[in-house]
């Protein structure tokens, strides 16, 4: 038996959280508590880098598979990764330590509890991306609600209670149908093991309804129009680190679920429902972009832009083209990094001025130049400027879409323009212009930890913008095999 590297990735943050739980939390120990959390998540990050090095990108087989008997004769605990999941694990382990560093300024009370919640969240998120059993997947997928509910509710802003409830109930409502579908699959095929289900396929008569049950869960989580309304609320009220986790990783669970389960298990139904996804995605792209244009609140604007960006992701996934799906994954990774950075940027000015309203600011470029430069970089990445990772993803998605459906691709391309409009306008109103609000003069530029976090995020944004090969190499084979399998099933079943 090899070293169980995936289980260690899942367990390590929880062990760190347990350790934090047993250390007394007075003012002084909070400090050490933070280092414990940082240490655990950093170890996890390096472990996942090591995983990436060991990872063999030339095969689409699941690697590092571990299987143990869990509920006897019913469910086995099974984890493993392929090219699709590994990048999400890396994203999770990369973002979490940065989140933990960022709590310095924003979380004032109950710090160690916050860190426990973040670490447990990390465990669950990694679990989602590497579980190879539907029940295990559901377990991790749902369990993440508990820490996130607490993060929003305890450390959030003024309307935190409303937002936390909305977040929790929306997501739970979406997911219960998925549970029914999972149990149905168990009775249809006698197993919930994803690999076996890939091989055996699912009865064509049930595919539509099962697809829809999974869709209801993923659509809420993505979030797709019209069930996206929880996201702006949750984002606005969550503390900065919570928004970062939410935008960077939680939203990606659904995109990952679409690729892994909707395409993988229900090809026939996916083909049937593609027009639905296209329609919802295009509406999300255009409609929420316009909404974003009109926002007064910076966090809300970024939240709506997230909905639009996830619209590209779902569009790309259901093109079932090599470029489209590759683009979607890169777009998700890029959005994970960029939106995390944007939320942190908002957090930086919020910590100083305690306002997220755009009209509070203006003309801060001369006061905090370092901030302005980094903020510009991420703004440009968000609107997809060539040379940033945002461009690679959007470009590939649109390429895939043009191959599949010309009209949809044209409308989605228009979304890029609106996207550029709201991001640039946001930047212009916040950073440039006349300095009217004289309180702003007291703002100080990025401190060391903020600079460190934002540079850490800036590096991959630029690096993968110029040289996306490492990402594409990792996912290429898995995706082409997925598409082959998809087309094969489609031909053989219809």
């Amino acid at each position: 038996m090899n070293f169980p590297i995936l289980s260690s990735l899942i367990l390590l943050p929880s062990i760190g959280a347990l350790f934090l739980f047993f250390t007394k939390s007075d003012k002084k120990n909070n400090f050490t508590g933070k280092y414990v959390a940082l240490f655990t998540s950093a170890v996890n990050f390096f472990l996942s880098i090591y995983l990436w090095i060991l990872f063999d990108p030339t095969t689409s087989e699941f690697q590092f598979v571990e299987e143990r008997i869990w509920i006897k004769d019913i469910i086995n605990y099974k984890v493993g990764i392929d090219g699709i999941s590994i990048l999400f694990i890396l994203l999770t382990t990369f973002i979490t330590p940065l989140c933990i560093i960022s709590v310095n300024n924003s979380i004032k009370e109950r710090l160690s509890e916050f860190l426990i919640a973040v670490l447990i969240m990390e465990s669950f998120m990694i679990g989602v991306f590497c579980s190879l059993d539907l029940v295990i997947f559901y377990l991790f997928f749902e369990a993440g609600l508990i820490p996130m509910f607490l993060i929003i509710g305890i450390w959030g802003g003024a309307r935190r209670v409303y937002s936390a409830f909305k977040f929790f109930l929306y997501t739970l409502l979406g997911s219960v149908l998925m549970l029914v579908a999972i149990i149905t699959i168990y009775w249809l095929n006698g197993t919930t093991d994803v690999v076996e289900l890939y091989n055996s396929g699912i009865d064509i008569r049930y595919q539509n309804i099962l697809w829809f049950a999974f869709f209801s869960s993923f659509a809420v989580k993505t979030p797709m129009w019209p069930v996206h309304t929880w996201l702006p609320d949750a984002h606005v009220e969550a503390p900065t680190a919570g928004s970062v986790l939410l935008a960077a990783i939680l939203l990606k669970m659904a995109g990952y679920g679409f690729i892994r389960f909707s395409l993988g298990l229900f090809p026939v139904a996916s083909e049937i429902f593609t027009p639905l996804i296209y329609t919802l995605s295009v509406i999300a792209i255009i409609f929420t972009s316009f909404i974003a244009l009109m926002q007064e609140d910076m966090k809300k604007l970024i939240a709506y832009s997230s909905v639009a960006h996830m619209g590209y992701v779902t569009l790309g996934i259901f093109t079932i083209q090599q470029q489209g799906i590759e683009g979607s994954i890169i777009q998700m990774i890029s959005h994970g990094i960029v939106s995390a950075a944007l939320f942190l940027c908002v957090g930086v000015v919020y910590d100083r001025m305690h306002s997220r309203l755009i009209n509070t600011y203006g003309g801060i470029v001369t006061i905090i130049p370092k901030y302005s430069i980094l903020f510009m970089l991420f703004t440009l990445a968000a609107l997809g400027l060539p040379g940033t990772s945002g461009f690679v993803g959007e470009f590939l998605i649109l390429m895939g879409a043009f191959k599949d459906n010309f009209l949809v691709a044209v409308i989605a391309s228009l979304g890029v323009i609106i996207g550029a409009a709201y991001m640039l306008w946001l930047y212009k109103r916040v950073v440039f212009g006349k300095l009217i609000n004289t309180d702003l003069k007291q703002m100080f530029d990025l401190n060391r930890s903020e600079l460190f976090i934002l540079s850490c995020l800036a590096f991959p944004t630029l690096f993968f913008g110029f040289y996306p090969d490492p990402l594409i190499n990792t996912i290429e084979v898995s995706i082409s095999d997925l598409i082959d399998q998809y087309n094969f099933e489609l031909v053989s079943k219809t």
């Binding site: 006897k72 377990l139 749902e142 369990a143 936390a164 409830f165 219960v176 029914v180």
Partner: protein, 472 residues
């Protein structure tokens, strides 16, 4: 000669009750002694049950009027352990109200005896006798805090409504007797003629009586009032122990004599289940008193347990037993928390009294958080698995409507559990509560919370325990 060994637990328990009554007469001022002896009696009875009966095959005694099999032994042990825990954590509460008397443990023992008879019953008369024995003890327990008007009201309400339901039940029994010529379950099963509408009437009346005892909608009206008015320790007893016995009778009654009439009663069971789940979830939203809220939540949970029974398979029955076991565990934890909300000899039971609990008593709040999320059925806590098994059994029978309604009502129910968590974690803190709780109270809270939390590591064990239940 009958094999009396198999009823040794019941014999021992009834002799002990009589002994304790006599002891109580002579040592009227020593409730502690009686309490400790009762605890010992419960444990010894459980041990005897475990040793004598758990391994044996189905055996019928006394002219086939009682049945000893794995199901009955298992349920008796669960009942005895639950009663033990209730008794052991309630002494501080009783002392505060100065109702720590010798009658309390003896009444609990008597009702447990009644439940054991119910669980064993293979005959309508035996079943009715057990039911009445446990009910009579429970009426008195409900009024145990007799100086408080609410407690007396609860007891009276419970008595009147329960007597009504017993009447209906008895009427159902007589109808069945009239049309089959026997009160024995097995004989009834052989005499069944599904054309007899009167038999269906009989089943319906008995189901009404049973549904009343486990407070399934629409026969739940007594539960909130009685749960609220009774002393908290008695409420704890009400929410856990009688439900175990009544569920066993449900299983026994439906699956032994009336399995062939499944078309007649399955719809009723599905209706009871759906109505309980939905009503329990919706009605709990507006509550401000924790005990009332628990009453509605227990109505909802009974709905889930019935959903498993409605599946009419061994899997379904097993999932119901798992459900009720995990439910008992969660309720134990929940009430341990309730019994800890004490300040200056006064107990608090409003939801608002929990405000800001997480700042004053972080560990208590964390335990309650885990228990509440588990009650809401959020993975990876034990409550999720309970629901998972039930719905697995239900979906196997393609009863999708029941499954979807059930799962949607968990979402509604999640709302009021979340509300409590919100009050504990997001609201401003109030005064601190006392922390000088007894060892057993702390123990039961810690143990139940830990079991709920780590259940997902060893989910197979409980399944193995119930997998030997084979009724159909």
């Amino acid at each position: 000669m009958e094999n009396l060994q198999l009823v040794l637990p019941e014999i021992f328990l009834s002799l002990s009750i009589m002994f304790l009554l006599i002891l109580g007469v002579f040592k009227n001022n020593s409730p502690r002694l009686v309490q400790n002896l009762s605890l010992a009696v419960l444990i010894i009875t459980a041990v005897i049950t475990f040793n004598e009966t758990i391994g044996i095959n189905e055996t019928k005694l006394f002219d086939n009027s009682i049945v000893i099999d794995y199901l009955s032994s298992l349920m008796k042990i669960i009942t005895l352990l639950a009663a033990f825990l209730v008794l052991i954590i309630s002494s501080n509460y009783l002392k505060t109200f100065q109702i720590f008397k010798i009658e309390y443990p003896i009444l609990i023992l008597s009702s447990v005896l009644g439940m054991m008879v119910m669980i064993n019953s293979n005959d309508l008369i035996v079943f009715y006798m057990g039911l009445e024995l446990q009910s009579l003890a429970l009426y008195v327990l409900a009024t145990f805090n007799r100086d408080q008007i609410k407690s007396s009201e609860a007891g009276l309400k419970y008595f009147v409504l329960s007597a009504l339901s017993s009447g209906l039940l008895l009427y159902g029994c007589s109808l069945i007797y009239g049309f089959t010529g026997s009160t024995n379950f097995n004989v009834i099963a052989n005499q069944l003629n599904s054309n007899e509408y009167a038999l269906t009437f009989g089943i319906v009346f008995i189901l009404v009586g049973l549904a009343f005892k486990i407070s399934a909608v629409p026969f739940h009206m007594w539960a909130p009032d009685v749960y609220e008015g009774s002393p908290t320790s008695v409420t704890l007893f009400f929410t856990m122990v009688p439900k175990i016995a009544a569920l066993t009778v449900f299983i026994r009654f439906l699956y032994v004599p009336f399995l062939n009439l499944i078309d007649q009663w399955q719809m009723i069971l599905i209706f009871l289940s759906i109505a309980s789940m939905l009503f329990g979830a919706i009605a709990a939203i507006g509550q401000t008193n924790l005990k009332r809220l628990v009453a509605y939540s227990s109505i909802g949970h009974v709905g889930y347990a019935l959903a498993g029974l409605a599946a009419a398979t061994n899997d379904g029955i097993q999932s119901s037993v798992i459900y009720i076991t995990i439910y008992v565990l969660m309720n134990l934890g929940l009430f341990s928390c309730l019994l800890m909300l004490k300040r200056n000899n006064k107990y608090f039971e409003k939801i608002d009294d929990l405000s800001g609990l997480s700042k004053n008593h972080p560990m208590l709040a964390l335990s309650l958080l885990i228990i509440l999320f588990s009650l809401a059925g959020i993975p990876p806590l034990a409550g999720f698995f309970a629901k998972f098994y039930v719905f697995k059994a239900v979906i196997e029978q393609s009863m999708y409507f029941l499954a979807i309604v059930g799962l949607l009502s968990t979402v509604v129910a999640a709302f009021y559990y979340l509300r409590i968590i919100k009050i504990m974690y997001f609201d401003e803190q109030k005064e601190k509560y006392d922390t000088d709780h007894g060892f057993w109270l702390k123990f039961s809270l810690t143990a139940s919370t830990l079991l709920i939390l780590i259940y997902f590591i060893f989910p197979s064990q409980l399944i193995e325990v119930v997998s030997r239940i084979n009724i159909i």
